[in-house]
Subunit: 320 residues, 4 copies
């Protein structure tokens, strides 16, 4: 949000809407803001339904009118929150891409180690035909690689600067709305795009991708839990979970977690997608549904990829 | 499914796996199959969990061993069902694209008729600033056009031939699995692609797109229901729904339907995405979740676009 | 719906709001209505968002004013639809209770046949401690019996007559709204209750119970699919599903179906419960969400109990 | 969890399974445990999938074998976690009941203040018939009171002690499993009940009730947001949310929050109910789904009731 406000002030300066001096003082105030002072923002959120009025007030605190007006003027709460969300989601996809690459790489190792080991292929929970571990590993790895490939599409969906002003007209500052929007997007490294304040396809597309990623991790977790069963005996893990009552047991707890995280994430998508029904020029009810779901989905996906790597790295033996 | 079986037999012929004579007789049987005889397939589905064994048996009925073996040999139930689903979903997207184009076109008309009419922009259910009807219309039309644009991505996701054989090895007929797969894909107009029997990203991506489309239709419906309120009076519709108790009332029933269909479709995505957790080489439990949800989502989306067009066409007055 | 209209006319008669002669003619018309003439109702539903105005018009067709007014006068569409839904859901619970009792009884048989057979208890997908089949069977049977016991609560929730008139005031016929409501409830065998037109706790409670029932069936299905695995070998079924590619396979397709139906039903509850957000005195958007979900949930539960019985009856061997 | 362990030790003592001296030392250790040392438990959870093995180890730390064995022996992780969850959920329902009573009471005040004020009843987003504010207030209050009444049923569902030992046989300590279970339940103020380790109807019933409560709050929020619209003008609130771009605006942010919290909670029920498919004698995947959803649902409901009270208390004018 601070990055947005700084870019906004710079864009106001570049279009001549504010003076160099006012902009400099405004930027100093933005830079000096201590984001750990979250009490103010929380209190403001409780009152206003979002933290922006309180943030803007804090940024303008102690400034003369000129510099104060060089902050946020012409923008609206949704501009700053949605653009900040775009920046955050892009950062999240970077981390998740790293997690995907790690998992893919460990799967390469596993194929080298165990790919030729015999293993029964199983369909509909029944032994089908003899195969090797490589068949299963390829079925795990392929979608992970494709999810990486889908990141281009997802990034296109989410990397759009949101700049529309109070009702989405992008008419501020007067006559320069488009110029400011383009400059803010450039400064933030976001795509210039039409206003999307009432079209939530971007966040929903992000949720969809998270659902795919956790879904594949969940498939791997389910497979590994099944492979680790006594009687099936196609997988031995090291360092698995202990039991308070049965010390002899080694539970594939991370594999089970992957299944739970996948089901959790898939379900959140149902709530997130309701946000598409975003009435009029801004819906608090629809918008805040995104905040109740999308961060949790990002965390669940990050956790799933972390667990997936740990789990795959803990394989001692695979195949019969 | 019949198209797949015919393509399969032709591919077996083209690779020399079956003789011209056997293939001809096999194709005659496939062509002669009366798809309205669904009793046989329903009964088989009840027994086997899917209609393919019964279909194959029916297609081979009365054939000598040679022609009988020129049908389905080397394929598996999932190959035929998933490839048939790909063909069906592509046909569905064609119809839905037409619906989207219609709605976009009616919105053009509405902009011409009412775009300059004054209308209050409303944010968070409160009057924000004066605007014109064109602001609202643009916010309805833009995502519809973008959903059309997203069809390229969706088509890429769903138009993949599924050819893997019993466990996904694509090793049948021996030594010619890849050649047959490529030929079947070519004949069906599908993309040759790696086997995706356990990776359900394609169907889930289709569901995601349906969620976006119905979501935007739901947003429009919600807006129109709000605009039609007495006191707001920004919309008058002709031919709206009657009441059994209050004959004076004119209810925006199609607008309400759009909201319901959007919430319904968004929720199905939660069940559909659970299908990603597709254990081992084929999961009946995960797979059949797709059949319980995706057809209903397609129908809901088709209905939504039909209602949307009717509703937009019924606008008598828009704006203050 | 016809039962409601007949009861309504009789209640109008009993309170003196209509004459015996008009009531008799009205009841003759209601009785003579051919419910298979659904075209009229479908067309009316398309126009009005519900079938009641068309139905009332059809019932009054050809009647003089007196008898015509002895039909539906003072009621509203929601009265008839919700009360009819109550009657239907009660009939559904009767059928499902029979299904539950059947499954419980087959489980008694299985305990007699296999209860003492040794079987490993498994926790977190790992062998835990030795046990007998009776442990598993009891864990299947107990919740089914408790779901039967919960039917008292569910019936209380859903068996309420809905009588409120156009906006829920229950003020029609004038001065006799309560008397008519009580009489209609009595005639229909429903509980007299405050109007619940905007409080959808009843349908949501029904959905909750369906979720519990399919959930337990899904747990049994999941267990049976796991028990039937080669290597675990704790279950042998007769007459299971065949494969088009691997004739040697016997797939536990009904067990898998139970899992899919449980996940499907659980997800519908998310859409059904959105119907609680029922704005103002009647929400078409919220109300029709119930019609998109609750019938499908009832069908899924009926199918699940039917499959459960067939599956349990197909057990040849259980235990090691 | 500490309450459970203390009750367990006391029950072991009462049945003679441990000596007075060992029990005393065990209880001293349990009492002395500093629950703020959550690092140990978090680390253990990461390793074992739940905090119990780490907790038991910490409680036994430094004890001789006798007192150490007087802790947890014969119980299992699920006994302690599920019973602790029952205690927690009961405490939650107490708080929520208070919130419901507060809202009901404020609605009484509002009826006294504004009940006779005229207000148009609205159905399907259209003016239906004239009414008074009391009609709307009664429709808000009635389900809240009924949700309070439903607490008896919910409490019955969730207040069951979970005592089954490692696989649910309740056979520990040998020959005294039932006696210990009864005593632990008595000490904790829970109902003695059959083991429910694999039957998750209780938590799902709790989620259902939370869905009903937030649903009604969401209905009220939706109504209030609609009433506050300019043009409808049936509601004036004090102290509503401000806007960063339009200082003149007063946004009904709490009303919108109620809608969002209702949709969020309803959706979580879809994930929670998947926990019914709880395979074998304990499913980490199904069980942990409850932990990902039920606490968030409790928090959302508490927040909704808090917001509801604040919102209702902020009413300045209601009715035309």
């Amino acid at each position: 949000m601070l990055a947005f406000e700084a870019a906004w002030t710079r864009a106001l300066l570049s279009t001549g809407a504010v003076t160099q001096d006012d902009a400099t003082k405004a930027l100093q105030s933005i830079e000096a803001f201590d984001p750990s002072q979250t009490d103010t923002l929380a209190e403001g959120s409780n009152r206003d339904g979002l933290p922006v009025p309180a943030l803007v007030k804090a940024l303008r605190q102690g400034l003369a009118d000129g510099p104060a007006q060089a902050i946020h003027t012409g923008a609206t709460s949704q501009d700053i929150i949605d653009s900040a969300m775009a920046l955050t989601l892009l950062a999240v996809t970077d981390k998740l891409a790293t997690g995907l690459r790690s998992a893919i790489s460990v799967l390469d190792d596993l194929r080298d180690r165990f790919g030729d080991a015999p293993m029964q292929a199983r369909t509909r929970m029944q032994v089908a035909l003899p195969a090797t571990v490589s068949l299963r590993l390829a079925a795990w790895q392929r979608p992970l690689a494709e999810h990486l490939g889908r990141l281009d599409t997802v990034s296109n969906e989410i990397s759009k600067a949101q700049i529309g002003g109070p009702i989405g007209l992008r008419d501020r500052p007067q006559g320069q709305g488009d110029a400011v929007a383009a400059e803010v997007a450039r400064l933030l490294g976001l795509t210039p795009a039409p206003v999307w304040h009432t079209d939530r396809s971007g966040p929903v597309a992000m949720g969809h991708w998270l659902t795919l990623v956790t879904g594949t991790a969940g498939k791997i977790g389910q497979d590994m839990a099944l492979m680790a069963q006594q009687g099936v005996d196609e997988l031995r893990l090291s360092g698995t979970g202990g039991s308070s009552a049965m010390p002899h047991k080694q539970n594939p707890v991370l594999a089970e977690s992957l299944v739970a995280l996948a089901r959790f994430t898939a379900t959140q998508q149902a709530a997130l997608a309701q946000a598409m029904i975003h009435e009029q020029e801004r819906s608090g009810a629809a918008w805040s549904l995104e905040w109740l779901t999308l961060p949790a989905m990002c965390e669940a996906t990050g956790t799933a990829l972390r667990h997936l790597k740990t789990l795959l790295n803990s394989v001692d033996i695979m195949g019969e």
